[in-house]
């Protein structure tokens, strides 16, 4: 029985080696690495854009339910009466955006305007290459620099946002781009600092190494995810907050606040280019969620040892879908922040909290053998809860009661 489960678990890997083995006889020597790369890339390019397509429908339906309406429920399979509860919507949306006219403003900088969506999509897609999707399933295992690779590519998306906003020659585009860059630069620091705690404990920058560092089994059934520590729990929520800001998700979606600046940096984009922006934004969110899963939620590891028979890639995808649903729920629930609140939150709350969290993680690591478990837990939480309370109070006092100048 165990062999069957293991065969299902390793099915993508065995399929790849089988295909490569057969190709070795037919293809020339130099083409084999290319084929191997193509075989790793194809599943990523198939799974994640499909997940994006389904997410757009689920998001619209979920938001509809939260707002007490139905959301899309008409489009099914074309030319039949099968409606699939509206899950054909993404095909219709895709056809629509592909056939729409591509409008470029007359005064726009045509070359930069054309390059911006491509320059956004490529780094986002490249980030997927270091994520471990399952046991032995990392397209590009960088044993020394995996996490740094991810963050370096994440940082280079800011520039394409600027390219889009500047080349459109539109004040709303430029304002949106400036807002987006300021926000991404500010939230990158807490994002990296909260991920750094895991690097400190695991002692490696390799993402598959980080997953393996969580494989230890406690109490006979529980895998030691980094989430199950005081610093990991706090770090995960700090990471998630910063990731939401980095991916421009509500409540941090000021760069495209439609009530203020139309659609931010992609105001002047239409048709296929807009679709690419939309795709890149969601793929960026998925990659961030995937990184959060790898760092804190045990990657492809199951929570309990006895659930290990479920294939590892199912665990990764399941956790990913759960986090996506969480972000949809947040979008339906929370209102948008103001720009000053957004910046204040990053610099005055998230940054000190991540620094304190780094300190707590260091203490946790140093007291592994010398201090009993309960003391470490209580001490760790106390060290995190007190600054949280103080910072939170200070933050609330600064924001103050809102005055409605025109309503009163």
């Amino acid at each position: 029985m165990a062999e069957v489960f293991q065969a299902i678990d390793q099915f993508p890997v065995t399929l790849k080696t089988w295909l490569l083995g057969h190709a070795a006889g037919v293809m020339p020597e130099w083409a084999l690495p290319l084929l191997s790369a193509a075989l790793s890339i194809t599943p990523i390019l198939a799974v994640f854009p499909l997940l994006f397509a389904l997410t757009t429908v689920i998001e619209r339906k979920g938001l509809g339910r939260i707002q007490n309406r139905r959301g899309p429920n008409r489009v099914g399979i074309p030319l039949t009466n099968i409606r699939l509860a509206g899950f054909g919507q993404f095909i219709a949306d895709g056809i629509k955006s592909l056939t729409k006219e591509d409008i470029v403003p007359r005064s726009a900088d045509k070359v930069v305007h054309f390059l911006a969506p491509i320059a956004l999509l490529i780094p986002v897609l490249l980030t997927y290459s270091v994520l471990p999707f399952g046991r032995n399933m990392v397209p590009l295992d960088l044993p020394q620099t995996g996490l740094l690779f991810f963050f370096a590519l994440g940082a280079s998306t800011e520039l394409s946002v600027f390219m889009a906003g500047w080349s459109s020659r539109n004040k709303y585009s430029l304002l949106g781009a400036m807002r987006a860059i300021a926000q991404m630069v500010s939230y990158e620091i807490p994002l990296i600092l909260s991920a750094l705690t895991v690097v400190m404990i695991a002692g490696t920058l390799s993402l598959s190494g980080i997953v393996e560092s969580q494989a230890e089994v406690r109490f006979g059934f529980l895998h030691s995810w980094h989430l199950f520590t005081p610093w990991g729990l706090v770090g995960f929520f700090l990471f998630l907050t910063a990731a939401a800001a980095e991916a421009n998700r509500t409540p941090f979606d000021l760069p495209e606040a439609e009530s203020e600046i139309i659609a931010g940096y992609f105001t002047e984009y239409s048709g296929f280019k807009f679709a690419i922006f939309f795709l890149a934004e969601y793929l960026g969110l998925f990659a961030m969620c995937g990184l959060g899963i790898t760092l804190f939620l045990g990657g492809w590891l199951p929570p309990f040892k006895f659930l290990g028979f479920i294939p590892s890639w199912c665990w990764f995808l399941g956790k990913l879908v759960a986090l996506i649903l969480l972000f949809i729920w947040l979008r339906g629930t929370l209102p948008r922040l103001r720009t000053d609140q957004l910046m204040g939150f990053a610099w005055k709350f998230l940054l000190p909290m991540t620094l304190i969290n780094l300190f707590v993680a260091g203490l946790w690591h140093l007291s592994v053998t010398s201090v009993p478990m309960t003391v470490r837990w209580i001490g760790g939480f106390a060290l995190l809860a007190i600054p949280y309370w103080l910072l939170g109070r200070g933050f609330e006092a600064k924001v103050g009661k809102r005055e409605y100048r025109f309503a009163n």
């Binding site: 900088d109 930069v112 960088l142 020394q144 620099t145 740094l148 690779f149 963050f151 370096a152 590519l153 940082a155 280079s156 800011e158 520039l159 600027f162 390219m163 500047w166 430029l174 400036m178 860059i181 630069v185 990158e188 002692g203 920058l205």
Partner: protein, 165 residues
């Protein structure tokens, strides 16, 4: 000379020329970004992965963003009717002479013919241990410098009190 080196070197030098010679300042900044990316590629080719990705993180993610922000904040500084550069006869000969001197030195030196040793064992762990032991003083000085630079930049760029009122 390998093909990948030729491509990366061509990209780096070509985009550097673009960064220094284009009229539009934002185009120059984008050319500079390409140069940074090309250099990161050269670092990767030299087995310096950590420095290569740090290069992208710091230069593309931070320095380039700073530069484009500064360009936007000082807009309208190069009127269209004015040449973007002073007469090229002032700087170009100096640069060409400097290049010829350096190229002659490089080509004459026996060190230049050296081929790379087998890939050295570099791990981020030993890099970090070195930073915390042999290089701890430079590291602390650098931390101080970065803090001072950050405070200094904020204070310099902050508006004067009279301006605000």
């Amino acid at each position: 000379m390998t093909l990948s080196f030729a491509i990366l070197a061509g990209l780096t030098v070509g985009s550097a020329v673009a960064a220094m010679s284009l009229r539009n300042l934002v185009h120059c900044a984008l050319g500079l970004v390409l140069t940074f990316a090309g250099l990161a590629g050269l670092y990767l080719q030299l087995n310096a992965e950590f420095v290569g990705f740090t290069q992208i993180l710091v230069y593309v993610g931070a320095v380039a963003i700073l530069i484009v922000f500064a360009i936007l904040l000082t807009r309208g500084t190069e009127p269209a009717n004015e040449p973007a550069a002073v007469s090229p006869w002032a700087g170009l000969p100096v640069a060409v002479l400097a290049f010829l001197a350096m190229a002659a030195a490089v080509l004459a030196s026996p060190v230049g013919k050296r081929l790379a040793a087998p890939v050295p064992e570099v791990s981020v762990k030993t890099l970090g241990q070195k930073l915390m032991t042999d290089y701890v003083l430079p590291l602390e000085v650098l931390a101080l410098l970065l803090t001072a630079a950050m405070l200094g930049a904020v204070i310099i760029a902050m508006k004067d009190k009279e301006d605000l009122q």
